[in-house]
């Protein structure tokens, strides 16, 4: 017994936090990736997450298969991301970092309203596939299978992304671009193509986060609004532009929120901000952030 709760309950709550945190991880990874390379804070990230969930609703009705849907959605959302980078964000490079930020903020309004026109303002049901219904015994008790799947899928994706960035020549170009885009350009690499791809990749991951969390949280046009704030908190805690920071901070924030909702339900929403304030006081660059990146 800890704090009046049996240890098994706490362990289950920890896993709930990890599942919640997994979604945060995916959001923060996409946000961080885009920022690390393009120094663009994507204020439409929540809207891309929402697009992912709605793309899921659309494709599952069309294809009738959850797994196929899961594979298609990132490409669909990523394609929107590619268009946004090419036609809206690219003209703003070299105009100061506030402009892409404000532009994506305006873009979020457009995306949300378009979805509202196409799908209606009401929430949409989205069920987990039959194979992932029910609960599994994880030693300390029964835990929803779908949430376990979300944790596993996030782990696979993060490892794949890490391998891509660290072990492939494409990843090498991306990392070099984040460090010094001018030198990369001098070496004869089309950096604007790299930026395009990375923006698409980041938004695709956000879309995947949306469709993955659709069976856990409900699907409605404004679902990205609060998620954007959560993604910011995670990014500030972890440190902008750091993959490891996004993973650790995402899981940490997820666990903190789920634990507070057990001990002090009224404070659940505020807890993550308290964590962020603490990090800002002790280590303003974030847990894994480098001092220089903050300028």
């Amino acid at each position: 017994m800890i704090g009046g709760f049996p240890i098994e309950l706490l362990a289950l709550q920890l896993f709930t936090g990890l599942a919640l945190g997994s979604v945060f991880v995916l959001l923060a990874v996409g946000l961080s990736l885009i920022f690390g390379l393009l120094t663009v804070v994507n204020f439409a990230h929540g809207a891309f997450y929402m697009l992912g969930a709605y793309a899921g609703v659309f494709f599952i009705g069309y294809l009738g298969n959850f797994w196929l849907t899961l594979a298609v959605v990132p490409f669909a959302v990523g394609a929107v991301g590619l268009g946004v980078e090419r036609w809206l964000v690219r003209p703003l490079y070299g105009r100061g970092i506030d402009y892409p930020l404000m532009l994506t903020f305006g873009l979020a309004y457009i995306l949300v309203e378009v979805v509202r026109i196409l799908f209606g303002a009401e929430g949409m049901p989205f069920d987990a596939p039959d194979a992932l219904m029910g609960a599994v015994n994880i030693g300390v008790g029964y835990f929803p299978a779908y949430r376990l799947f979300v944790i596993a899928a996030t782990a696979v994706l993060v490892v794949a992304l890490w391998l891509f960035l660290e072990k492939t020549s494409y990843g090498l170009v991306i990392r070099a671009g984040a460090r010094d885009s001018e030198i990369v350009r001098v070496l004869g690499i089309d950096i604007s193509l790299v930026w395009l791809v990375v923006f698409g990749l980041g938004t695709a991951v956000a879309g995947l986060a949306g469709v993955l969390s659709a069976p856990m949280r409900s699907v409605f046009p404004d679902m990205g609004t609060t998620v954007l704030v959560e993604a910011f908190v995670v990014t500030v805690v972890g440190g902008m532009g750091s993959l490891a920071g996004a993973v650790v901070a995402g899981l940490l924030v997820g666990v903190v929120v789920s634990m507070t909702s057990l001990f002090a339900p009224a404070m659940a929403e505020v807890s993550m901000f308290a964590l962020m304030a603490l990090v800002l006081l002790v280590r303003p660059q974030g847990l894994f952030g480098k001092k220089g990146l903050m300028g």
């Binding site: 120094t39 404000m102 532009l103 457009i110 509202r116 910011f232 800002l280 303003p284």
Partner: protein
């Protein structure tokens, strides 16, 4: 102003226009107030005029940080909302007179800005927008939870100030024109004070910070303190706007604390022209009149908001007034 020696370069009507602009810039407080004095007679109904006054003041306060100091904050909804709620709560729950209640609102917003500012100035550049947004959203959740005081999801109702109770004057806010001039008095004082701040050495420090922070530091400016102070002053102005809004609407909706309200300030400043004295009011006027017209036709106003915002950032980043100034001084 940017008009170093306009007489040499301009001819004909261009010269006269530049002269008018220069005259307006010299007497900027009088120009704003003179216009706002006759403003309600130019609009179809007064409630819209009151909205424009209040949101113009909100954008004006925001512009101190965004336009003059060059720091983008996405947390100003917290100050607008705190001003609204503080004024509303002392009127509804403690029966306070409207005048001290408005002061309480502004001070509460100033305190909120002091705390949020102290945390946010520990970060730089792009982080500032994210941190201020997150912290203001924290205020949103806190107020949401304090249901007994704030009314929670339904917002705070019953901020009824009808009889002003001024000795010798029979004034009631039920008359829309009276309400307009009631708000106008506060806005006039704020605009005058704002102009004085800009004209002070502190105003010069803010613009120095915008142009080159490192150089300002090398010149002996206490950068952190100046930024924090500007943030607090900006919060006071936005809090005053919030207080007036509570009295104007007689309710405080919880949405006034949401970060979309911060977005409104950003949008109005950008629309009018950031870092210009008249910009915030021009922006508030344009935005609210457009909203008024377009919502008559369609429920999808948000689509237009987004498109308008994107359009201005891509093609008219100086905003309406900023572009006009440039055109007049070409």
């Amino acid at each position: 102003m940017t008009l170093a020696n306009p007489q040499e370069e301009l001819k004909g009507s261009g010269r006269r226009l530049a002269g008018v602009v220069a005259l307006m810039a010299r007497h900027r407080v009088l120009a704003v107030l003179g216009f706002l004095l006759v403003f309600p007679f130019l609009l179809p109904y007064e409630a819209l005029a009151v909205n424009i006054l209040i949101y113009g003041l909100f954008a004006l306060g925001f512009n101190l940080v965004f336009g003059y100091m060059g720091v983008l904050s996405f947390g100003h909804a917290a100050f607008f909302g705190l001003g609204s709620y503080a004024t509303g709560i002392v009127i509804v729950h403690y029966g306070m007179h409207w005048f001290p209640a408005i002061l309480v609102g502004a001070v509460a917003a100033g305190l909120g800005a002091a705390v949020i500012g102290a945390l946010a100035i520990r970060t730089r550049g792009i982080y500032f927008a994210m941190v201020t947004l997150a912290l203001s959203q924290c205020v949103y959740y806190l107020v949401y939870q304090l249901e007994d005081l704030s009314g929670g999801e339904n917002g705070l109702r019953g901020v009824d100030v009808y009889d002003l109770g001024l000795p010798g004057l029979e004034l009631t806010l039920l008359d829309p024109l009276t309400k307009y001039y009631f708000v106008f008095v506060f806005v006039a004082l704020a605009v005058w004070l704002f102009s004085r701040i800009l004209a002070s050495p502190f105003g010069a420090v803010l613009e120095a910070l915008r142009e080159n922070e490192d150089r300002a530091r090398a010149c002996g400016t206490n950068v952190a303190l100046s930024k924090w102070l500007a943030f607090v002053i900006s919060g006071l102005f936005c809090g005053l706007a919030g207080s007036l809004n509570a009295i104007h609407l007689t309710i405080v909706p919880i949405e006034s604390l949401h970060y979309h309200t911060s977005g409104l300030a950003v949008m109005m400043s950008l629309l009018g022209g950031m870092g210009t004295f008249f910009g915030p009011f021009v922006g508030a006027l344009t935005f609210l009149v457009l909203e008024d017209v377009i919502t008559l036709v369609t429920v999808h106003w948000q689509l237009f908001v987004g498109a308008l915002f994107v359009f201005f950032i891509l093609f008219l980043p100086r905003g309406i007034w900023g572009s006009f100034l440039r055109w007049a001084s070409r």
